[in-house]
């Protein structure tokens, strides 16, 4: 399934992207490409620029320089609402669900990027599909999202992301704060998204080992720059790299 080199027109390509906050440049001329339907892991220590990268791609942070190419078209500088409609969905760290809304309402929010013209029946059908795929959510559809366990919340996050029918999904630390067993379940879900639905996934993870286990490609950031980019197996085998940047 994975390839050794990035395909000719990757689903998502970032070229020389530079972004920062106030006087601080957090991302300095970063270039990455994410293969279609592949899982690309973005790794590195805290402060390396991983979250900044996702925020810049999704439009939450206006980049200072560089291009963001979705299937070849440059989207840099667009607002988050526009990015979502173009097909880039972003789940920020620790902010997957809206706790004050019910499970069903959270899922409906996921469909808000759909064109208005799409008929109600389609939305209802999509919702039913989500409940079939994720039975625990169906059981709790009218409960507040705040009452869900950590694993269930992440399930809701992924279900909602799926409903947005994105081409590219940016996931920031989806396994944060979860017990190891639950972490594994979440990772399985992520794999499902790419294999079964063909969604291109960009996965930021502190848990580098777990991420590399499911990823096709990996990119390592340090201090806002790319220090390594290769397929996951090669990165995993590079012991020096792992020790220095990835902590294992």
């Amino acid at each position: 399934m994975s390839s050794d080199t990035a395909p000719a027109t990757p689903a998502l390509a970032v070229e020389e992207l530079t972004a920062g906050y106030g006087g601080v440049i957090a991302l300095n001329g970063v270039s990455i490409s994410a293969g279609t339907s592949a899982i690309t892991a973005v790794l590195g220590a805290n402060g390396a620029g991983k979250t900044t990268l996702l925020r810049a791609v999704s439009g939450m942070l206006r980049p200072r320089a560089g291009r963001i190419l979705l299937a070849g078209a440059d989207l840099a500088g667009r607002s988050p609402e526009q990015m979502v409609r173009a097909g880039i969905a972003h789940v920020p760290e620790g902010q997957g669900v809206i706790p004050e809304l019910t499970v069903e309402e959270n899922l409906r929010v996921g469909m808000m990027s759909w064109r208005r013209a799409r008929p109600r029946a389609e939305r209802a059908a999509a919702l039913d599909e989500a409940y079939q795929r994720f039975p625990p959510l169906a059981a709790r559809r009218r409960k507040l999202a705040s009452s869900l366990s950590g694993g269930e919340r992440q399930m809701l996050v992924i279900a909602r992301a799926l409903l947005a029918r994105p081409r590219v999904l940016l996931l920031d630390e989806p396994s944060l704060g979860l017990a190891p067993r639950v972490m594994a379940q979440v990772m399985d879900l992520v794999v499902q998204l790419s294999r079964e639905h063909g969604i291109t996934i960009v996965l930021v993870e502190q848990n580098a080992r777990g991420a590399l286990a499911i990823a096709d490609h990996g990119v390592v950031l340090n201090l806002g720059r790319v220090v390594a980019a290769a397929d996951a197996a090669t990165l995993g085998a590079d012991v020096a790299l792992r020790h220095h940047y990835l902590g294992f």
Binding site: Y21, R55, L61, S79
Partner: protein, 359 residues
């Protein structure tokens, strides 16, 4: 203004300028100087409370009322020398400020604003309700004369201007000392992050209450000055409009900045008068003419606030950096650079307490 000698020097220089102006300009300008001095005293205290300690108060007019009525009552019934009366008024207001501070200790943001707003409305109502002691809606008259050694021909307004200016400058001096002291640092620490400050060993409640007491003292002094400058204390002089004007002056001047208190006070004293002059000199009908200053004042507030988010003092500093390059970060008032991130900072409702002045 990091060292005391420098601050003292600045205060003495300011006093000299005021002395010069008060002698040169006429009675009306003396009255305006006194007005500005009164406002500066109150606004400086509020600016410190809200800017440095992070607590909003829409009711400092109530503390001015306490200071003013204490002064009026003491002068009326006991006729003690003004300096004594002034200190006592400050003391009474300090106690009141402490009590309010204790009651408000757990309140944040709009809840504190609501409570202090209601305080500002309720306290003057007390004076209206109890005619016997407080003189009801007519209020109490205050007699205040210049000391004999100045001679009979010495204009009272000039003496009032001098007294107010001295009190204002002394207040500013003491406030500056406080702000640069450990207490000031504690205020800023509590404002920025209460939990971290508490972990550092700062007594959060005491720090906040102290800030309230200090701002109340300043307002009390200002109220006392107002009593002797206008020769009257009445509920109508201490309406909620006054409290709001104080906050407006503090924010427009530049929150947490003592020079800002001066700019803000100048603005709220001079602008309405100037515009009223222009309106009446053009012979506009009274209904239109008396409302144009109000409308323009409102427009000025909006425009200044949108153009200078850091207040006038912030605007001046920015202009200065155009010539001298960026300043080192030693100022008192908070820099609040707006983050360049496109969405507004995500704030879950009431899941953490509100902080004033947080970008």
């Amino acid at each position: 203004m990091h060292t005391f000698p420098r601050r003292l020097g600045a205060a003495v220089a300011a006093a000299a300028v005021v002395w010069f102006l008060s002698v040169r300009l006429g009675t009306f300008r003396d009255y305006q100087i006194a007005e500005v001095a009164v406002e500066v005293t109150a606004v400086a205290g509020l600016s410190v409370l809200t800017g440095l300690s992070g607590q909003i108060s829409l009711g400092n007019g109530a503390f001015m009322a306490i200071g003013g009525y204490t002064t009026a009552l003491l002068l009326l019934h006991l006729n003690w020398p003004y300096i004594v009366v002034l200190v006592l008024s400050a003391a009474v207001t300090a106690v009141a400020g402490g009590i309010v501070g204790v009651a408000a200790a757990r309140l944040r943001g709009p809840y504190l604003a609501g409570a202090t707003l209601m305080l500002g409305v309720a306290l003057p109502a007390l004076a209206s309700a109890y005619q016997g002691v407080f003189g009801g809606d007519q209020g109490l008259n205050v007699t205040f004369t210049a000391p004999a050694f100045l001679g009979a021909a010495f204009p009272l307004t000039r003496w009032q201007a001098w007294v107010s200016t001295v009190v204002a400058l002394v207040t500013l001096l003491l406030l500056a000392n406080l702000c640069y002291s450990r207490i000031g640092r504690n205020w800023r620490a509590v404002r920025d992050d209460e939990v971290a400050a508490a972990l550092d060993g700062v007594n959060v409640a005491v720090t906040r209450i102290l800030a309230f007491a200090v701002s109340a003292i300043c307002a009390g002094l200002a109220g006392s000055l107002l009593a002797i400058v206008t020769s009257l204390v009445a509920p109508g002089a201490f309406t909620i409009t006054l409290s709001i004007a104080l906050l407006t002056a503090a924010v427009i001047g530049g929150l947490g900045s003592l020079p800002g208190a001066l700019w803000g006070s100048l603005l709220i004293v001079v602008v309405p008068t100037y515009i009223t002059d222009v309106a009446t000199s053009h012979g506009l009908s009274s209904s239109v003419g008396s409302n144009i200053p109000i409308a323009v004042y409102g427009a000025v507030l909006i425009v200044v606030m949108l153009a200078f988010p850091q207040g006038i003092q912030g605007g001046l500093r920015w202009i200065l950096t155009l010539f001298t390059g960026p300043e080192p970060r030693t100022r008192l008032s908070r820099d609040a650079p707006a983050p360049h991130v496109t969405p507004p900072a995500d704030e879950a409702p009431a899941s953490h307490h509100e902080k004033e002045g947080t970008p």
